[in-house]
Each structure stands twice: as C-alpha cells, then as structure tokens.
Symmetry: D2
C-alpha cells in the first residue's frame, strides 16, 4: 500500500461482541480501516443493525465470505468461536493477508491439548507450529514476522502478564500457581442464554468450571516456557467467576516461592517494573497500591500491583484488563500494528 | 378447612419468575401453603431446580396439570402469559377453587379491548363480567366475594394508585393523563432474549412501546370509572422504559386540572392521604418528600409522593412499587387473603 | 501557533469528574494537548492520583492558579461549579485565551434568571451578553467567533436538541413542554454524599427537584428563541430522575401541537432529519426505532427517535446522550474545535 | 415474660445499615419486637427517617442511651463499630439483658490479638473469656447459655462454615488456607466515602487489605480450634475484594490436604453434608453444583459447594451468604433465638 492509503482490514464473524469492539477501535485508527465485514448470518444488513454504536460511523454492510474480497485485505481478524476458524484459514493465507485469530484454535501447541480442553478435533494441526502466540510482551519479535497469529484469551492475558515476571525470577517453585479471577459478563458474548440475563447476573457472583476452564493449559504453556532452566513445568489452578459488570477482568494470582527469604512488596515492585519497563500497555503500581477494573475499562492496559504476605509466604499479584480490549480486540489491533509495521500504540491510546 | 390447617394453594405456570416470588411469599404465610406446583415443561423436577432460593425451603416437585389435584386446592394462581390461561379456567372453577389470574386475560372488560391490545382472541368472554379486577384499594368488597380475580398489571397498579385520588377529585380534566414509567427488567420474565442480557441492560435505559403498551387500556378503564359524573372518559399516554435494575417500578404521573386554583403540594398531600387512610399497603409521603424504588423493594407497598408545578399547572404524582410484589405476586396474595377471609396483610408485612 | 504545534489547553477545576473526561478526550486529540491543570486542592500531585485512568497517559501534575501560566494557553476550560467561575474569567480573558465554562454561570441571559435559579449572585453580569451559548447545532457561527463560551448543561443539551425542531416547526403550541429525564449518577460529580453511594443508587430510581431544577430556564430560553414569530414563550416542566447507571441521560420529551392534523411518525422523522442533516453529532432514527443510552455511551452523539401518539395528540421525542461527553466535556471540545478553527469532529469520533 | 408477650429488644447504633436490616427481620419475628432504638446522633427522630423502608412498619423513634430503658429489654444488640461497644457493656449486662455485639470487640480471644488487628486498645479484656463466639453451627450449646455473645463477622462466617468440615477432617494440612472473597459494598456501611460512591463501585472490582484484614485472625482462631489434635495451628491468607453489588459475599476457599489420596467431589460432598446434617441454615450442594450469591440474598442461609482439583491437589469450597443477614443481623437474630429459648429459625425462614 502507499504511504497515504490505509491498510484494508477484513473481519470474519463481524456481528459478535468482540468484533464490534474491534470496529470501534479501528474507527479511530490512523492507518487501518475495515473494508470487509463478514457475517454469514446477516449478509446485506448495515453493520449498525448489529452494532448500534457504529450508526453513522460506518456505512459498511455485512457480507458473506468471499475469497476474492478477503484477498483484497492486508489483514484479517477472525472473531469466530473456537473450532470455527479452521475452514477460513487456508483461503485467507492464500490471499496474502495476515491472519489474526481471536479464538483458541491456534493457542495450544502441544499434541492433543486442543482436543483435551476444547473437546473437539483440530483439523489443521500442521499450522500450529507456525502460529505465533500473540502476546507482544512475551513474543513481540516473533509476532512481527508472523503470518498467523493466535490472539490470547482474556483470562490468560490478564493472568500471564501478572505471573510471568515472578516465574521468570524463579519465585514460583513452592507449589502450583493459583489464579482466582472474576470477569464481566461480556466475556460470554451476546448469545441469549438464561444465565446471562440481567436478572441472573446483577447483584450476583458465581464461580464456574473450577479447574477445567480451557484457559488453564494456555496459562501453563506460557508460564512453563518462562520457568528457569531445570525448574520443570508450571501447574496452575485457575478458578473463574462471573460478576455483575459488563467489561473487565480482575485476576488475583497466588504464587509461592520455594524460598521467600528477602521478599517484600518493594522487591516485588522492582521485579515487575524491571520486566515491563518500556512496555506501552503494562502499568505497574507502587507498593501499597492496587489496580482496579475501572482504571483500565475501555483501554488496552494491563495494570499490575503486588503484595507479599509474609505470614503465609505467598506472593499476590493483582492484575486487571478490559476483557474486550487487552483481552481481545485491543490486543488484536496491537498485534496488527506489529505485523504491519505500524506504531504499536496506533489507535490504542485510551 | 379446619382452623389449624393451612389453605392449600395451587400454582399454574410455577416455573416462572412471578411464581417463584409467589412461592417465596407463601413460604412465610401463616395460613396458606403451596400444595400443587404445575409446570408443564418440567414435571417431576424439584421446585428448587427452577427456583434455587427455595432449596431446603420446600420439597415440592413440579407436576403436570391434573384436575383432581387442582380440585384439592382452595385457591389457584395462574402465572401463565396472557392468552394461556383460558384452557385452565373451567376446570379450576369446577373444582371449587378460587382462581387468581396474574395475566391480562380478564382485566379488560369492554368488548374487543382484549383483542385490540393483546392481538389474540379471548376464548371465554362470557366470564369477563364475573371476573373482579383485583386492586383491593379500589374493589376490596367485590374481591372478597369473587370466584375469579384478574390480578392487575405491574405498571397499572403503580399508575392507577397514583392517579385515582386525583381523578376522583376532578383534577384531571385538563387533558390526557401522561404516565412516564421505568421498570426493572424482571418485568420481562426469565425468557432468554438478547435484549434482556446483562450486557444490554446494565448501564442502559430504553423506552419502548410508546403509546401502545397493553397496560394503557387497563389504566384508562379504571380511571374512567373513577371520574366524577359527566366528566367523560380518561385518556392516557403511557410510556414505559426499562432501566438497569432487577425489580421495581417508578411511575411519574402527570395530570392537568382544568382549574388549578388553590392547588399546592399540601393540598395534594391531603387528597392522597385522605383517600388512602387505613390502607395497609399504600404509604403517602409528606410534601417535599418523594418515594424511591429502594424503599419498597421486596415489599407489597405502593409509595406515593406528589408535587404541583404552578408554572405549568401540572400535578406530578410519583409512585413506586416492587413489580413482582405489589405489581404481581404480593398483590395476588393480598387478593387471596381477602377471598379466603384471612387478615389482608398475612404474609405480606415486609 | 505553528502548523505542527498543538494548541495548549488549560483546565481549571481539573480534579473533578468532567475534567477527567476532558483530559481523556484530549489525550486522543490530534491538535490540542493539556498544558496546565489547575487544582487548588491538590497542587503538586500527579494528575493520575485523581484520575487513575490517566496513569502513564500524562505526566502532568496539578498546579495552583497562576495568571502567567494560564496566559500561555490558547484555550481554558473551567470545570468549577456554578458560582465559582467568576473569579477566574477576567485573568483568563486578559491573557488572551478563549474561555469555555462548563458551569451554569453564563448560560442564562435574562436579568435575574441566574440569581433566581442558582440562588446566588452573578458577579459579572456585564459579560452575559458576550458569552455565547455553546450548543453548536444552534449557534455554530457565533461560537466560532466567541471569546467566552457557556457550555450547555447535560440535561439541557439532551432536551433542547430533541425539542428544537418541533418547536421551530410550530408544533409545540398546545401547552407546556414536558421533559421527563433520567440521568446516570456521574452527573452529581464525585462529592461523597450518602445519596450517591452505591448502596443507595444501585437497584433504585428516584425523582428529584420536580419543576425547579436549574436546567429548566436554560431549556425555556433556548426553545423560546426558536418558536415561530408571535407564538410566544415556551414553558417547560422538567422532571429529572437519577437511575442506577454511571453515565448517560435519556430524556423523554412530550410536546403537544395545537393542531396535530397530518402528523405521524414519518412526518416527525422528516422534520428531525431535515433539521439535523449534516450535523456530525446528531443521529436521527428511522420511524419505529428508538435510541438507547448504551448506543451513545462514551461518544459525543445525541441520538433522537420520535413517535406521534394520535390517541392523545402528543409528540414524543426520545433523546440520549452521554452526560459527561455531549453533555459536558465532549461538547466543550467540540466548541474548542470551532473556536480554534479545527475540524469540528477532531478527537471526538467514537 | 408471659407466653403471649413478645420479648423486648433494644438496639444500640440503630441508625446504621445492619441495624436497619435487624429491624426489618424483627418486624417479621413472631416472638420479639424492637422496644428501644438508640441512636446518639438522631434522638427523637422517627426510625423511618434513617430507614425509609420501615415507614409505616414501626412508629418507633430513636432515643439516647438510657440505662433504665435498656434494663427493660430482654436482649440488646449493639451495631456500633469495633471499639465503640465497650462503654455500653457493663450497663446492659447489669440491667439483666443478654448482649449480642455485632462488632469485632469480643471475637478475638488470645492476648493482644484485638489490639494487633484493630489498632486500638481493648478496655474490657476481662470479659473476653465469658463472651461466646456466636456461630451456632460451631458453638450452639454455649450460645444458649451465654450472657455476652460476639456475633461473627460477615467474611468470617462465610469462610469458617466453608472450611470447618475440611479442617476437622484433617484435610487442610498441606499448607496455609487461602480464602479469596468478594463482598457487596454494603459491608462498608453507609458512611459517605468517595470509594463507595456508585461511580466508583459500579462496573468495577477491587482487591484490598491483602493479608491484613481484621477478619483473618478470627478465621484462624476458629479453624485452629477445629484442627485434629497435634496438627497445629491453621494459618490463613485472606484476600477480600469489593464488587459491584449491594449485598452478599462469595468466598472461594482453597485448602491443600497433606495426603489427597482418594479425594474427589463426591467425598467432599459427603464430608460437608455429614457435618451440616440438620443445620437449618447451611445448604450443601450436590457434586457439580455451586452456590451463587443470588440464591441466598435476603436469607439467613450459608450455601456451600465443593470441588477437588486433582491436577493440583487442591480442595475448593465455594461459600455464599448475605453479608447483612447470615453475616450480621440474621445471625444475630439466630443467636437471640437460641439465647431466649425460641425456635432457632423464628423470623428467619426466607
């Protein structure tokens, strides 16, 4: 493309919630614009019929999947659910566009892990090795050169960014990592399920899928890769909750060092600050301060605060993100910026 | 029944939201207990599978409709939707039980009104004359002797109690009554519609069905009956809204007297107080004070406050109820208390 | 300033809620940046101590008011409360900056109106004539040339944009205009009052200041100016409510034409559409569709939908805005864009 | 008192939130009624000025503390904050009434613990031994004979009931107990703090007081007392959060057995069910089912569900209560029922 032209973006599964957020973010992007919005359920309808906030912002209409149209794009995002991406991948890549998948289809690398946790077959395992896990804070240089990017999950982004520096520092060797997280209900999408009605979510909290949520192996995979040589794999107990809010995740992460000598809040702050120095989207709080969901809502930030409980020898890292932004659409744009050579923060500052 | 035995209550449509509230109220009732809970969609299942709050409170299981079982009841509530009650009425009445219908099937008395507003045929119009409109504050003595009671709607209870004293006093002759009301989303039941998801209700407000909501003719029917002789029918513009809360309604009612001379807040307070003196479930606020939804949530109260705007010659009455209690299940129990000769407040005080 | 330099913005009362929103918007603005943030209560503290969302976005610190510093600005916003702006005006204007006041101090033009509704003296009445009422959709050309701009109130923006086309068309002559509005609680700012605690706002709705809210005369002033010649002044009954949401306003506006012949939803849509054709921040909905608070949250849009109730001869216009954006900080930036010669939409699209 | 007379109840600190809930519960109680409501800040005012929901329910007025009036009571509840109860105790006990303290003043038995965690002196340590920790499920028989009852905290009730059976079974020996809990904001009372405003609570979650909340030693004290002989003290890391809801607590409790052999969800269910068989206010869920805050709101229940994560060898018990009922006022009435010889469930069923 020429210097003046904007990159052409395609979106598959464009009627969903994360796709709507993606289009909102891209509407502000200086160097990219949505050119093709694929929704197989509502072709021909104006985009604002599914995304009323975009009324007047875009005149685009949904369309069916068409390889030629997709081949005109520089980058294609898939917002389909896990297991529903495979049938599009070959044609998108053949057309020359970069492919950024917001589902879990390309995140788990080890044999059989996808099948085990998603309870469905992976029809294109040959591409797993090529797909880059798109967490820029861990894999920035690989993202830059990728054709196929597995955009991380919301809980996983929030959890991994919290735990990574502690694991890297060798301070998680005293047992399994425990992650107790609470998410707003937008993480469940816009499907009309009774459990997600206002009457069942408001003034309520519920835990679910204790120890068997599909984000568990994603967290373990990434943290294990960071563990100091010889320290073995990281095991995690991940317990998600749903709370009465729309957007955002707060994860309280508990890690136990084998040897806690010398640890305190200040030391933890140093470790986190050093690890994320220069990162545009990670903010580390001073000792004694903790982030809140409100502070990151609508933004691409992941905010971190940590404390050491000397009575029990436990490190606690509190991490917050907006599940639809840093946890999905925002991080996808961050990855797009990297893969297309833009400024990493384009379209993403507040 | 003997003095010591409790009245036997049957509920048709027992898996719904208002039925759940009804069972909660009856669990505290000193003189009645649920004996038969009919749910055609989940016969055999414990009641607490649909109403988790009732776990341990009742061991009842849902059952299919059975005329003999129903004939063992002293009173039967129907929590079915409008148009779905007709097929049960004959058998319930034949069995000897009083019938209290929470739907709109027997509320509108005039020929063709039900069909016009509910867009469906009324299959038992011959019973309309017998059915008593169950707003005790207007029709207490008729309720006492009724076999068939049409329990009023939630918006209508809230609106009629606010406007009735003003209309009776001849102070609504200066034009149509305007009722601008906002309801919590429990009024829509527990059906899994996208519009009622938390993500679309929280931090949102919407107006709907401007001027054509089916509660409009119910309000007009009752207020017209109260208008002083010769003053003609009362016309109302009713505009409902849904807000981000679970239970409750606030109705702001605007009435214009033909001649406002001498009106002020104090005079309005006198009119309302005099009308509802001795009423156990209507609370009238002092001039300068207004009720809030919070003050009546979970209770059978309708709270009223009024102001006169002399600049525009408009009377404003603010009325609040809990839509599932005074607007549905609580009022139904109030009617049951009357029809079975109990204390009107049994089971309903806080 | 040079083509490349950004305009320098000063903010007085920079620790408040609307100031925070203003800084968020300006952080994305291509041609302006905050240079001076005055907070007399917390000079020296980093801006993010009051506005945690701005952590890492700005390094600015609050400072006391200093005429020289302010004179270095191209435009100054005041986010102080009504009655607290006067002491800054002379120095700001003397320094050469444009002054955009978000309070009510310069909105009411007629003698004694400010004193009557705000219950405090106006210490600089001589400037009232010069101050332009900053509703661009009504006064765009005057805003462009203004030194002193009275940014409209949140309720008033929402209400006036809804009613203006109807009044201009001569369709509001059948009685007072009635505006029943509900606002999120951010309209009350961040002062620690018991009534604004979560426990008293959540799952609650309350009406307040019936007929005597200070936004009433602002609405009447602007609508009266639009009424067709000879039709006299417009009187309004404005009834505000607070609901359980943070941001946003929905106003249901009721107007009665003296002669409703020929009116219907389509005609109303034509009137509104024609009036706002080309307006970047007003979106008019097709007949049968109504705007919701959710659709405009975080944006500078005012969305409008209208219906005609033929049974009562009443026009209903439903209008929604984000009270902190189009109702405050966004509109202030829109005014800044006009007064500094920028694109009107700069920094404001989504 | 005679069989027919109701017990006379006094409340100190009667204008607060938990006192309001207490009066709501007592309004339904068949054998007790509030006779004296002490509020030193608003003597003479009707109770409903602080508790609008009680309008019409009680005609009581607040009064100052008067030893004679208090001596006329059978039982006195104190709803004052920690450290503010001491000055009333002697006079209440001297008057012959039972004293039920809802604060933390008499909960911690070991020397210096109160001072350490509450940062204030305990002025009546001599009474600590006599005061019974009022968790009926642990100390029912001692409560029956008590003069002075320390009503447990909200977090502690929720946490202890979850962990007690596991600790008793010797399954918590593999390390510290971790309790990650989230509470509605009513736990903070009605003081007007900025952090508890709707605008800062809604759509937000925050962690606070990691490892140093004053409920921590209360949990440790009670669990340690239950640990099998020789297994030593139980150490707990308690991490509280505040979420966007009014009432309720959900605690996710993590316990690690030294030897997890043979553990599974079914075994955990057996342990919990056996422990709480016959308990009127503890409901244990079947394997695979988890309680939610919604299921207990407004009730005196504590609902429990458990899962065993074999991958990490961790027991997870999810526990929910209404923080103002089983976590405060409801449990206080349960204690009153025991101490006065009433049915334990009087006034508390739903």
């Amino acid at each position: 493309m020429t210097a003046s032209a904007k990159a052409r973006v395609g979106i598959i599964g464009a009627a969903g919630l994360s796709a709507g957020k993606l289009m909102e973010i891209l509407a502000r992007h200086p160097r990219a614009e949505v050119a093709v919005a694929v929704s197989e359920s509502s072709p021909g309808k104006p985009v604002h019929t599914s995304h009323p906030r975009l009324r007047g912002v875009t005149d685009l209409r949904f369309e069916g999947f068409d390889a030629k149209r997709i081949a005109s794009c520089d980058v294609v995002f898939s917002c389909k659910k896990a297991g529903e991406t495979f049938r599009f991948v070959a044609e998108v890549l053949a057309g020359g566009a970069k492919f950024i998948d917001l589902s879990g289809d390309y995140r788990l690398k080890a044999d059989g892990q996808f099948e085990k946790w998603y309870k469905t077959a992976h029809s294109r395992p040959g591409e797993l090795a090529e797909a880059v896990y798109g967490l820029p804070e861990l894999h920035r240089s690989r993202v830059r050169g990728a054709r196929l990017i597995a955009n991380p999950g919301c809980y996983t982004t929030t959890s991994i960014l919290a735990c990574a520096p502690i694991v890297e520092a060798g301070l998680a060797g005293g047992g399994p990592v425990l992650i107790d997280a609470i998410s707003g209900v937008s993480g469940a999408g816009r499907g009309a399920k009774e459990e997600n009605l206002y009457i069942h979510v408001a003034e309520n909290v519920r835990a679910y899928r204790i120890g068997n949520h599909q984000h568990t192996p994603e967290i373990e995979q990434e943290l294990t890769a960071l563990a100091p040589g010889g320290s073995g794999s990281v095991t995690a107990l991940f317990v998600p909750h749903v709370g009465p809010f729309r957007d955002g995740i707060l994860a309280s992460c508990y890690l136990r060092p084998a040897n806690p000598a010398g640890l305190d809040d200040r030391k933890l702050h140093e470790i986190l600050s050093a690890r994320y120095a220069g990162e545009p989207f990670v903010r580390v709080y001073e000792p004694g301060h903790l982030p809140q969901v409100e502070f990151v809502r609508g933004t691409n930030y992941c905010d971190l605060g940590a404390a050491f409980d000397s009575r029990t020898g436990t490190i606690v890292v509190v991490s917050v993100t907006d599940n639809l932004v840093k946890g999905a659409a925002g991080q996808a744009v961050q990855n797009m910026n990297l893969v297309l050579g833009f400024e990493e923060t384009d379209g993403l500052l507040l």
